[in-house]
Symmetry: D2
């Protein structure tokens, strides 16, 4: 396989590294307008072949990874798909659902693989939680509450919502196997011109609430998601080195009243289990999954549809935040769900 | 001083204990309809005199503490104020702002002390944070984010909002010296009929956002409030035994661009300080403050006005939650601010 | 049952409270030379009958609890046992093994119950660890390492070894079902005249090492014991509110070399489990166990033999510490083990 | 500067990386008997020149880094020093003080720089603690207690003492500016033939006690050192990402008795400060310091003398551990301290 990586700024070199570590690529190309950026990558990975013009590279590749600024995702991915080549686009897939939908259609029309780099979906703790949900250990999910905050780098082209929420959204969609139908979001531009803190409430058709707290301004780093279900509760804390997932055998049960009278609640507190998790780097798992899909033609787990669903949810949250927090319904009508969905995304 | 405590259920005995521990009461009465409850209190505090009928007691007291269910606060406090006696009402002051406002007016008319049991305002960590804010160490506050969650006792007469949010609201009002002007709240009744999880966004006239996450359903207890300001950030974590308050010399500064061009950000990370805090129990500090006010006629820090302000904010949040999260403006027009406010509440 | 508590200083009132909470005593007496101390107890527990002279009380009691300074344990317990009354002596049982042995013999001769207040043996986390060890989950124990440090109160009559090590020793003896045969201890008197920090190494006949770090001088409180076995490892952390015991499915296995060559090690890392633990206060469990033994004549789990074994281990550690850390063999020859030992203490 | 790195096994490649990152080397050579190891290094660092025979390389270098197994340090360092080239030897410097002393003498005789890779001495948290000690904030040090435990890799050629204790010893010697005079150590070979857990007590002439707990067998990783002084206490926890050093304004003061009577203690608890620390990787700081010394001829902070002092302390601990824990005096008589010591090492 010949693989190209377009964009060698902040994140691109990590994708180059992952491709190198798969040991499955015959040739890896990297492409960037900046000669300095290219030289830096080649110094670190001498086996990689630098290319300045994207067009020269695409034809020599079986698959291309796009790690350029969000604004350019659509144009670049379109160019690649039109040539029938597989593409892995960094998250979010595009800056509008119109763009995202067009990319999906192009992938279909050209019979080319379209995958979105929602890396967390491939991370062992996130998959373990999915397993707990799928096997019924968690029961019916009541709500999800997530904090992704840190004194992080203020982006200049996208606000905190488009920067951080794609992570949580891809995790939510993967876990719940469903899309939110309604959103309200508030935010504030504390420093600079773009919102750097935001709170987002997503409603799912099943009644599940999801609350996302995201921020580039926080005294201490949080990467913590709580899932509360009818049978157990769990915490996924990505900053915890040894106990990223903790399952709590805890809950409240409503007893049907024996006589005509008040309901009774019984509280349950059982053991806490931190499962052992595979230590493989999620980015390497993602890279291998992409190469698998390129080779076999299989649909990626984080396919164009998931990429689109995330963009739809982001777009609606943006509208809500701009209007000061009013509710926005998320319209999937013009996003016909393809006949065959991935089994994984159907379950929960 | 003769002091009576009405209501000897879950919380009342703690107030009896605090009054005993002040060592300032000549006689302490306790009153409850349940003889069992009375007997239990007397067994624990043999110096306390049990009374079954409230009316008998009030006349023999200089001050009365009301620790009955919320629904009854108004009627009982009214009775006490009409007799010109000082009253300390448990939080929230009442179940409507109409009731709360009437109690305030009664207190004025009868020249009687009205205090609300917003205990956290008297707790050393909360006061230390106020000091940091007042002295300018925190700078302009951007936002406050708070989590008060636990597998807690599901109340049967009030929902999680009226049960837990009074704590955070009293703290916010005390710290910010201001009232929120707008609120949106969402919640869900996961177990039982009343909402047991909620997320509330308060907007302050100054632009400050406050996000409150409250829940009776959570795998692990959180009592954590983050304040992010322009000069520093802090965490108040009430579950931390030795470092309840941590001040982070951290922030982002916006540099005015020298030339016509992009703004530049500079990140600052300095030392973290956990101040030493007085270990006195907040409830004892509250009890002493109440007795001080009774003796001197001073206005309590958590006076009727604060009690009313909290009820106004709760009521508005309730309206928003019932309507599925739409924005509700908080109307203070019929709540004329008294000419003399406490110096403390004016500063920030 | 009529129960007396002698000594109403720092710890005695807690024992009075426990006895009250058992709800099994007809009459509880308390005895102290200080009228102030007595008055304080009676104010808190009005049902308790104060007595100034010990002798008056003993005859009216079925059982007596001794919570006086360590130096006086022997004389007081002797007086009680000679009258054939059951006695619960605070830890350590006595200040020498000669005294402890004599008390054991007196108990036997007078057919009276002798129990020592090694409370931790009754605490749910300590018992859960015992269960893990007994059922073989931990495998063969390699070593135990414990830290019991805090900026604690400097005692004036006993050093840190006699103050804190009895806790760890009783836990060790209970868990291992065995007594150490050898000890080396070092310490230093940093502030004041008595050693306030110490490190003790105990050797058990089975090869198990136990390292105890104890200190009245430490920046942050530690109550942490690690047990490393051939099949799993565990941490007992008494400062952790929700996860006092954590069992780690972790270890190293030595593979027998297939050919003539080097041994191979395989590392195993599995899940971590924090079991749910009964929340009952250990002191109440201890009080009930004492009353059970008084009523049924059963041998207490923390009987005179365990009390003696702890004193023997303390005495040997004292000798070692005084000599600057040289090894001291612990001689059990003159401590004939009684024919019938508790089943519990035989197992491990 | 031309720099060579001998030994490209587990640790060597990290030293190659550091040398690359200094951007100060004209040419970097790497040398290993294994062609596979060499190829791996070159793949990662294509600018590095691989060499199979050490002798060919040394003459082309100004300075050589030795990262081979401990047993070979002496022979290799000797070869380098005899050719008058600067050498940085990984810790521990040698396996006996005779070897270490000879290397020191060779360095002197050949006027060549000899530095030992005690990396922790260059790490920002360790240097911050040194600053606290030097400036008197800690006061007189009473004791140091350290835990360096983990389910770590069982070495095959050295036991846990020679593997892990060099870290703590170099830190201790740097902080205290003094060498221990006496040691007792115990250990156990739980898995395999070599001791994999050990406890070491070092005594310093000033009365300071240091307790080192080291282990390759532990359920959770600890890298925690506590320093207790007369004026304050501190914790250096290298596993803590954001608060590696915490200074506690805590202590006990002994008041001189006013009258003929008992001493009085007063306890002090003040604020806790976590200083901001430079985030530079210690290994890069070490590499730059080595190159500085090579260029200027300055004496390294972790010079041959410190390397020797660490080996002396290890050797004595080994003797004690082999004898089951008896005390061993550490003899410095044949280790004449050079006339000029580093200012830094004299202070404390």
């Amino acid at each position: 396989l010949n693989v190209g990586v377009i964009g060698c700024g902040y994140w691109g070199p990590n994708l180059v590294r992952s491709m190198v570590e798969t040991n499955r690529c015959d040739q890896i190309f990297c492409c960037d307008r900046s000669k300095t950026a290219l030289a830096k990558v080649v110094r670190r990975f001498p086996c990689v072949c630098p290319v300045e013009r994207m067009d020269d590279m695409i034809d020599r590749c079986d698959a291309v990874v796009v790690a350029t600024p969000v604004m350019t995702h659509y144009e670049i991915a379109k160019t690649i798909l039109l040539r029938g080549k597989a593409v892995l686009v960094e998250k979010p897939l595009a800056i509008s659902c119109t763009q995202a939908r067009e990319l999906m259609e192009l992938a279909d029309a050209n019979n080319a693989t379209l995958m979105v780099g929602h890396t967390f979906v491939y991370s062992p703790p996130v998959r373990k939680v999915k397993e707990y949900i799928r096997t019924g250990i968690v029961g019916d999910i009541y709500f999800v509450s997530s904090s992704r905050v840190n004194l992080g780098i203020h982006q200049k082209d996208i606000n905190v919502l488009w920067d951080l929420a794609p992570h949580d959204l891809s995790i939510l969609l993967y876990w719940l196997g469903d899309n939110p139908c309604r959103v309200s979001a508030i935010g504030r531009a504390c420093v600079g011109a773009l919102p750097d803190v935001a709170n987002i409430h997503y409603y799912f058709p099943s009644g599940i609430l999801a609350n996302l707290e995201i921020s580039w301004l926080a005294p201490s780093k949080l990467r913590r998601t709580v899932v509360v279900g009818s049978r157990s509760m769990l915490i996924y804390d990505d900053t915890n080195v040894t106990e990223k997932v903790k399952l709590y055998d805890k809950g409240v049960d409503l007893k049907t009243p024996e006589s005509f009278g008040e309901y009774q609640l019984s509280y349950r507190t059982g053991e806490i289990v931190a499962p052992n998790l595979d230590g493989t780097e999620p980015l390497l798992l993602e890279a291998n999954h992409f190469l698998d899909c390129v080779e076999t033609g299989a649909q990626p787990e984080t396919d164009g549809q998931m990429g689109l669903d995330v963009v739809l949810a982001l777009e609606a949250a943006s509208h809500s935040m701009r209007s000061g927090g009013r509710f926005v319904e998320i319209d999937y009508s013009s996003a016909p769900v393809p006949e065959l969905m991935l089994e994984e995304r159907r379950i929960a």
